[in-house]
Symmetry: C2
Subunit: 217 residues, 2 copies
DNA sequence: TTTTTATATTAGGCATACCTATTTTAACGA
DNA sequence: TCGTTAAAATAGGTATGCCTAATATAAAAA
């Protein structure tokens, strides 16, 4: 079985795009808060186990098997997040860390029953899509809120899930999945946007807006 | 924080009576399926951390702090068992191993919300008492079914929780917590009992009967 | 009291998953 | 083309939690 650490690497590689193209060691090291020698070493081990291909000085890429494992972990993570918010009443800024531990100790059987109990949710509380039990995931076409022109409207699809303070800020704004948002103005040079959420107008930093993914209406 | 392994040791020491009197290294090694040098080493480490007192060649005993930690782990274990049976529909023979992993990744906050969601259960599915969030546990006076005289009746209080095949057998017999059982006959020399459960008579090996704890009626 | 035996400890290793310090590589600009 | 530089690899080390083999202890039997 893959260790907890292995699963953490697989998940991170997948989320950083290493399921498509070689991912740099330093990027992974930054994300996982470990040194790059640690990542080099693990990259070699993942390759030995057939979960990744690794070319020194090139980067690391998941194999089909590695992708499947990564998606299984991500599915468990998102199912637990739904459980924690929907069933236990946690707020969406509290659930990532808890789910990050639970995801590694969840058997396929518990995963299956949990999904049934939750009525087969299609997204996590942050709007990210739920991989299927068969290891498929459908990612809806999306663009960052910061890419909208003044006057355009969008529906929020998903938001970053690991940034506690940002999630609390987004809660205050009402910027959550399914919310409709209209861009009123965009200041130049990646400056702040003015957005309408429901009946209220809010200034919104470009950095934040670029992390809110929306579907254009 | 205590590691998963540390928690496993604390739990085992507690359950084997090491919260009261020194527990032999070999007994712990047998229970945890590890070598006795591994146990000696961990006993020393637990003592260093103030979780146990350890006298070489004497045995290991939990400190007050060690007991509190053990009971916290046991509480989480039993809460997860209830969740798995009551909410996800698992049978009582499937839940021990799952709970044994979940118990180590459960924050106090999740523990609290889970207990609320389950409506503050007083026992696990096998009838063992639920320690309180404050680290207290009340163990009802009980005797093994094998200690009953012919003609005496009892209510099942708890059964062993880790033995999958035995739990399946007990399910077939209807021997579960709250069930009423009457001893009809006891063969000598720790021989089989004949017991009435509901309307049915069953022969029951002494070894099994000695592990079913009952309250005399 | 001495010997035997069961139990426990010590000694020495191994795998995992980290680390820092050092060396190597590859890419880029002069 | 040749240095410079940033990124990544290697070398060597640590803590945890296991292991087996050898040794020591304590209790029981002779
Ligand atoms: Mn995780
Ligand atoms: Mn999420
Ligand atoms: Mn456990
Ligand atoms: Mn139980």
């Amino acid at each position: 079985m893959a260790t907890q650490s292995t699963e953490e690497y697989l998940e991170a590689i997948y989320k950083l795009g290493g399921e498509r193209e070689p991912l740099a060691i330093s990027v992974l090291a930054e994300r996982l808060s470990v040194s790059s020698p640690s990542v080099s070493e693990m990259a070699r081990k993942l390759a030995e186990q057939g979960l990744a291909s690794y070319e020194p000085y090139k980067g690391v890429t998941l194999t089909a098997e590695g992708q499947a494992r990564a998606l299984a972990v991500i599915r468990r993570h998102r199912l637990w997040e739904r459980f924690l918010t929907d069933t236990l009443g946690f707020s969406w800024d509290q659930v990532h860390d808890e789910a990050c531990r639970l995801e590694h100790v969840t058997s396929p059987l518990v995963e299956e029953r949990l999904a049934e109990f939750l009525e087969t949710p299609q997204t996590c509380p942050h709007g990210h899509p739920m991989p299927t039990a068969q290891g498929k995931v459908t990612v809806e076409a999306a663009r960052p809120l910061s890419a909208l022109e003044p006057g355009q409207r969008g529906v929020v699809l998903w938001v970053p899930e690991e940034k506690v303070e940002m999630l609390q800020y987004l809660t205050a704004l009402g910027l959550k999945p399914q919310a409709t948002v209209q861009v009123e103005a965009v200041a130049p040079f990646q400056g702040p946007l003015t957005v309408r959420i429901g009946e209220a107008w809010h200034p919104l930093g470009w950095e934040v807006a670029s992390q809110i993914m929306v579907r254009l209406l």
